[in-house]
């Protein structure tokens, strides 16, 4: 059913602080995830599954991979005449400052969309903390509470220097948003609901401070705008760099974790492809792994995630690794504790071996 209460706004220009070969040619939001997805699929699917039909999307400077993947929103039911997906150039260098996701300047660039709507609320999201949530529950809670902003958080299970923590006071009111997050802190999952009128007020009020993050700008004004918190009890997966990317991906190999992210009544949508079902040849040996369509498996795969169109030749062995689109692991090669970016060929009888503490990362290859 069409959501008449809310429109959406997503920032896809978070750039992170950790240098990585995975991010040399693509923004974080375009990182491939679990074989066939990209991170941006998750915020978009959450919006679509809540019936939100109008979404503004702030793009990074290197937006090509996102545009190729998302297109005009058709695969997300967002290719519409009324509403739909509105992409626009966000800050091209991204939001690299610690904890910053919602640059005021980007929000202001999208002002026309906020002004044209008559929905009372705006759901705001980043693209590097992913989850599968019934947003309508949160929108309803926000509406009942009557506050200006509702910020979503989880209890942090680990340290994240590039996440933000919420200091929460009486009646769940957020007093402060601070960079960095330790175990047990209230970790902001880069998602909040805001009254549309309030957002337009803030845009007008802080126009001269447009170089600030949204929550930096209103830091002195939290009480007046009435910022509430909402604890999300489900799975939220934060991707800040190679290490968290690898670890969080591997955790999904447990069906109990996987089932929290993938639910039949709230599908994660993504770009459709014409890849054949994966083919297992006689003698293949695969266990505890995700394998995507278009792959051909002759060899051995253990505790790994294979993207589309990966070939694992006979006698090749892939263990504890993430293999991206179009890679070929040649006869007798061995890949262990590694992330192999797309279109690489691992030559015969070679080894790419990292350790659990030092995952080996191989950047994009040149196979066509």
């Amino acid at each position: 059913m069409m959501n008449t209460k809310a429109i959406g706004y997503i920032t896809a220009n978070y750039a992170g602080n950790e240098p990585s070969k995975l991010l040399e040619n693509r923004p974080v939001a375009a990182l491939p995830f679990l074989g066939r997805y990209r991170l941006i699929d998750f915020p978009l699917s959450n919006m679509t599954n809540a019936g939100i039909h109008t979404v503004g999307l702030a793009m990074p400077g290197n937006w090509r991979s996102i545009a190729d993947h998302v297109g005009h929103g058709g695969d997300f039911q967002l290719d519409r005449k009324i509403g739909g997906l509105y992409t626009f150039p966000g800050n091209p260098y991204g939001t690299t400052k610690r904890g910053m996701r919602f640059l005021l300047r980007d929000i202001i660039s999208n002002r026309e969309l906020f002004e044209r709507s008559d929905a009372p609320y705006v759901v705001v999201m980043g693209a590097n903390i992913i989850f599968n949530m019934d947003l309508n529950e949160v929108i309803d809670a926000h509406e009942r509470s009557g506050v200006g902003i509702t910020m979503l958080y989880v209890k942090a299970e680990r340290k994240h220097s590039d996440a933000s923590r919420l200091i929460i006071g009486d009646a769940g009111r957020v007093q402060k948003v601070e960079p960095g997050c330790e175990y047990g802190d209230n970790k902001f999952i880069d998602c909040f609901i805001i009254n549309r009128d309030l957002l337009l007020d803030i845009i007008k009020h802080y126009a001269n401070a447009d170089y600030l993050d949204f929550f930096e700008a209103i830091a002195g004004d939290m009480a007046r705008v009435d910022v509430c918190s909402y604890e999300y009890k489900g799975l939220a997966i934060g991707i800040f760099g190679e290490r968290s990317y690898y670890e969080r991906s591997m955790e999904l190999l447990a069906p109990t974790v996987y089932d929290q992210l993938f639910q039949k009544d709230r599908p994660i949508r993504t770009k459709a492809h014409d890849a054949a079902p994966a083919k297992y040849y006689a003698g293949s040996n695969v266990a505890n792994s995700f394998v995507s369509a278009g792959s051909k498996i002759h060899g051995t795969v253990r505790n790994s995630i294979l993207s589309r169109n990966v070939i694992v030749e006979s006698g090749a062995n892939v263990t504890n690794s993430i293999i991206m689109y179009g890679c070929v692991i040649k006869r007798g090669a061995r890949v262990e504790n590694a992330i192999i970016d797309k279109n690489n060929v691992v030559p015969e009888n070679t080894e790419y071996r990292g350790t659990p503490d030092a995952i080996m990362v191989i950047g994009k290859g040149t196979r066509l």
Partner: protein, 381 residues
């Protein structure tokens, strides 16, 4: 509307009753095949890969799932304003409604559709076989011979020839004789049910046939024999490569198995002529810690906790722990529960084999076991 050189009419109206329980609720072309495809995908992909961008799909029997699946034709890049795919069900006129009485009759009822595209040639197809073909090559043959009608044919083993409609042709490929299942065949060229007509001849032939009270209004039974008798220019175009009808349970199973092996008879992976389908955005499949998959195709969304051998596991199907699936086809959403054992079977969409149940037999002299869509097979059965 701009003139099109060649448009296609795809006959998708038949019930496909020989597929038994698999077509009790849906039309044959919409039946799942090959893990993530439906039977019509192969013909529509051939059209797309041959650059044919106008395809009328003639439907009649329980077409709803087929209509939903074909949709706007986007999955085959056939969502083109003013052409692309068009669904053509039977319809009523001022004179009342008329069902399609035969393959030719179905096309006759849609002559207005054909005329609106002003084609020079019309390609007649059916949506129930597995093959790759560049129809442009056949069109070239047709044009070279300045033919009225060109028939796609397949050389079959001589001993099988008496099971087919057989065309006898001279050294130039001109058809001299057409015999339906001849006892003593003098040719081994079997008709594939693929025709290219020159537009004027098609219109004349169909209009004459429509008023012929003794006609069964079928291309094979009526139109071709009449055209031959009338001395029209009929030619064959030989297809070399894989072609198999999937219209019976036995051929469906056999053809499914042809997708497997080191060097399969039909290769789903050929990137030059991709098989396109209306994909469902499901996650990659998961093979569990004790999963074991051998010589099989496994589609997205599956969860394999047990053993799969020489089988096709379609989208969202599940194989439980300690379960065994061999020489079988699990259609989308089929579930084989823990400890069950399925051999030489076809499980329909969302069919369930309960825990510990044994179904089917590896004995190839026995019929393939078939479980209908949504059917649950418990211990007692």
């Amino acid at each position: 509307m701009a003139r099109k050189e060649c448009i296609a009419m795809l006959l998708a109206g038949g019930q496909g009753s020989r597929l038994m329980d698999l077509t009790s609720k849906i039309a044959k072309p919409a039946v799942s095949f090959g893990g993530k495809y439906r039977i019509i995908d192969f013909t529509l992909s051939n059209c797309a890969n041959s650059g044919i961008e106008t395809v009328g799909i003639l439907t009649q029997y329980r077409p709803y799932q087929l209509h939903e699946y074909v949709g706007s034709g986007r999955a085959w890049d056939l969502n083109i304003t003013g052409s692309g795919v068009s669904i053509l069900p039977p319809y009523a006129t001022q004179e009342g409604g008329a069902w399609y009485e035969g393959t030719a009759d179905a096309v006759t009822h849609n002559l207005d559709y054909i005329k609106s595209h002003h084609p020079e040639y019309v390609l007649i197809l059916s949506g129930d076989a597995l093959y790759r073909m560049d129809y442009r090559e056949m069109l070239k043959t047709h044009k070279e011979h300045n033919a009225d009608l060109t028939i796609g044919v397949m050389p079959v083993p001589w001993e099988d020839a008496s099971r087919f409609g057989i065309l006898t042709a001279d050294e130039n490929g001109q058809v001299t004789k057409f015999s339906e299942k001849p006892a003593h065949p003098d040719s081994n060229l079997a008709s594939m049910g693929i025709y290219i007509f020159s537009y004027d001849f098609l219109v004349n032939a169909l209009e004459e046939d429509a008023i012929n009270q003794r006609s069964s209004h079928d291309f094979g039974n009526d139109i071709i024999p009449k055209a031959l008798a009338d001395g029209k220019r009929l030619f064959v175009h030989a297809h070399h490569g894989f072609w198999k009808d999937v219209g019976t349970i036995a051929s469906y199973h056999e053809t499914s198995m042809d997708l497997l092996g080191e060097d399969p008879l039909f290769d789903l992976f050929d990137e030059k002529t991709p098989i396109m389908s209306n994909d469902s955005s499901r996650p990659p499949h998961y093979i569990g810690p004790d999963g074991r998959v051998d010589d099989s195709l496994v589609a997205n969304g599956c969860r394999i906790m047990g053993t799969v051998r020489h089988s096709i596991i379609s989208t969202d199907a599940c194989v439980g722990e300690r379960a065994i699936v061999e020489d079988s086809v699990l259609l989308p959403g089929a579930i084989v529960k823990n400890g069950a054992h399925v051999s030489r079977a076809i499980l329909g969409e969302n069919a369930v084999v309960e825990e510990g149940v044994k179904l089917g037999s590896v004995d190839t002299t026995k019929d393939t076991a078939v479980v209908g869509n949504d059917v649950v097979i418990g211990k007692g059965e």
